[in-house]
């Protein structure tokens, strides 16, 4: 009869549901007590590909403007001028508006040296929009010029290695 079947089903399914919920008393919670009660900083647990706040290694920036062109929302502005005397590219300005950035990663893909890349830093809260503007060039610097063969400068070499690690992680084939 429907009447008693309803009662039976109600009791049986509630019994089953209650046993599932009770079993969770014997399982460990899965949540992380961010930010202060974590054994390791969350940033250190993030994968290599994590797209956090952008960073630029000026030492290996070639000033090619590929990232500026690739950015769909124009949050990167670069002023690179060719010095008439030394015939070198000089970076006068390299600004990224982190407040505008949407962390898509399209800028780091075409970078020839991996100079612009995402870090695992994601804590970006601040009190003003102005402080979200990252100005990487403090004083004009000479752009990096890729060498034939391996990098010899002991200061630049590790940075370049890191940059290339980001770059080789991308799937090959995008360029043409």
């Amino acid at each position: 009869m429907g009447y008693f079947r309803n009662i039976k089903e109600t009791v049986a399914t509630i019994f089953e549901g209650m046993s599932v919920t009770f079993s969770h008393f014997m399982r460990r919670p899965y949540t992380v007590q961010y930010p202060d009660r974590v054994p390791i900083r969350i940033q250190d647990t993030l994968p290599f590909r994590y797209r956090g706040i952008l960073e630029v290694d000026l030492e290996i920036c070639t000033g090619c403007l590929a990232c500026e062109r690739a950015c769909p929302i124009d949050c990167i502005v670069i002023d690179a001028v060719k010095d008439k005397d030394t015939r070198q590219m000089v970076l006068k300005r390299f600004d990224i508006d982190i407040a505008k950035c949407m962390y898509c990663g399209l800028c780091s893909e075409p970078c020839p040296t991996g100079s612009i890349h995402h870090t695992s830093e994601f804590e970006g809260a601040d009190y003003s929009l102005e402080s979200m503007l990252r100005r990487f060039v403090k004083t004009p610097v000479v752009a990096y010029k890729p060498k034939k063969g391996p990098e010899t400068d002991p200061e630049v070499a590790p940075i370049l290695d890191r940059g290339m690690a980001y770059l080789t992680d991308f799937a090959a084939g995008g360029e043409e």
């Binding site: 399914t13 509630i14 599932v20 898509c104 799937a171």
Partner: protein, 384 residues
């Protein structure tokens, strides 16, 4: 008031003087799934009509597409449906590839399928979880989100983001599968599959839950097709149609999987419970696809050479793919320039919202919540 072409007359036996109440549900209501508003005309607890008012999340993504170019639009597609961004990525990739006639490497197709199916599970988890929450059971929601977090971890390792993936590119995917990633994904499936059964034991077949959903908002197959319901909503009405099976794309023909449909096991075919249980079963099927895909990832490149200044020939293309919310249509017109001439995204939530007005007549106020949840509406997808 005449809205949507229907005039509603309130019939009252005996002339009991009651007043119709206009309730404004949303945009700040707890269970409107994003930003969605219903103008509800209710007679006590019984609704006369519920007129959806959409547009609160309209970000003019289709207009943006005309300004940012083919490559630059990829991250915007994440924002079309942020619960299941991978299918949107794939949709944009597919429509551009169809326009330009680009062949995607097989390994890239496998990567896409793996990412999309993981994302589909994540989206369905959110859907069934929030369904439980809307019906008043909070525990299933956290359990579902807990498993979703694992998927997010996996996708984060794959593409560096948890929500707005931007994983795919025109002609393939941006990153190859990371080393040691495949065993992790298999381990997740091993963990997750029994938890679907646990989830069913906890909530799906709970009598109260079943009673809340069975026979509510029954949509017949003809009605569902007429209103262009897609995906699990359509299959809940008993129409066996899945783009992955019926208009195969990518490498889906290589996988074995079933298309679950609503059978009316606790009520009528096409009720809220059918739409719900179809999603649960689709998670099982996605696991099946994932196991096959993860076992058989071929070697090779994951991205073809596509010019950075991507200029497809003049013409138009329309593709369908099965996103988490069903048959998603991407229509793109190219005028041969660097920028798409026109992009139209036909999403499942948009058409599902249009039927709410029809099915919500004469049901209880609490049922509207169940109806909205059962359609798995995602507000940004409605408004785009």
């Amino acid at each position: 008031m005449s809205l949507g072409g229907y005039d509603v007359e309130v019939q009252r036996p005996g002339g009991l003087a009651t007043e119709e109440m206009t309730l404004n549900m949303g945009p700040q209501h707890p269970s409107t799934h994003g930003v969605l508003r219903f103008i509800v005309k209710a007679d006590g607890e019984v609704m006369r009509e519920a007129i959806p008012d959409v547009g609160y999340l309209h970000r003019s993504i289709e207009k943006i597409a005309e300004k940012v170019g083919y490559h630059g639009f990829m991250p915007y597609t994440d924002r079309v449906d942020y619960v299941a961004a991978m299918p949107c990525n794939q949709g944009w990739g597919m429509v551009c590839e169809k326009l330009a006639g680009i062949e995607v490497p097989r390994r890239a197709e496998y990567c896409r399928v793996i990412a999309v199916e993981l994302n589909r599970i994540a989206s369905h988890l959110l859907s069934v979880g929030s369904m439980g929450m809307d019906i008043g059971a909070y525990t299933p929601f956290t359990h579902a989100l807990r498993e979703r977090e694992y998927i997010n971890d996996l996708l984060e390792e794959l593409c560096g983001a948890r929500l707005t993936f931007n994983y795919m590119r025109i002609g393939g995917v941006a990153w190859d599968l990371p080393p040691d990633w495949v065993p992790k994904a298999v381990a997740f499936l091993d963990r997750f599959e029994p938890l679907i059964d646990e989830y069913n034991a906890l909530i799906s077949y709970n009598k109260i839950y079943v009673e809340r959903l069975a026979n509510v908002a029954v949509i017949s197959a003809a009605e569902a097709i007429d209103y262009n319901l897609v995906g699990p909503n359509l299959r809940g009405s008993g129409v066996k149609y899945d783009v992955r099976k019926d208009m195969p794309y990518s490498v889906y023909p290589e996988f074995e999987f079933d298309v679950p449909i609503g059978t009316g096991e606790v009520g009528t075919v096409g009720d809220c419970f059918d739409r719900y249980i179809v999603r649960i079963r689709e998670m099982n099927q996605s696991c099946r696809i994932l196991r096959q895909a993860l076992a058989g990832v071929p070697e090779g490149p994951v991205l073809t050479k596509v010019p950075r200044k991507f200029k497809p020939p003049v013409g138009d293309a329309y593709i369908r793919l099965e996103s988490a919310r069903g048959d998603m249509g991407w229509y793109c017109v190219s005028d041969g320039s660097e920028y798409p001439y026109r992009v139209k995204i036909r999403t499942g939530s948009f058409t599902a919202t249009s039927i709410i007005d029809k099915v919500s007549r004469g049901v209880m106020l609490a049922d509207l919540i169940a109806i909205v949840a059962s359609f798995d509406l995602v507000a940004p997808e409605i408004d785009r």
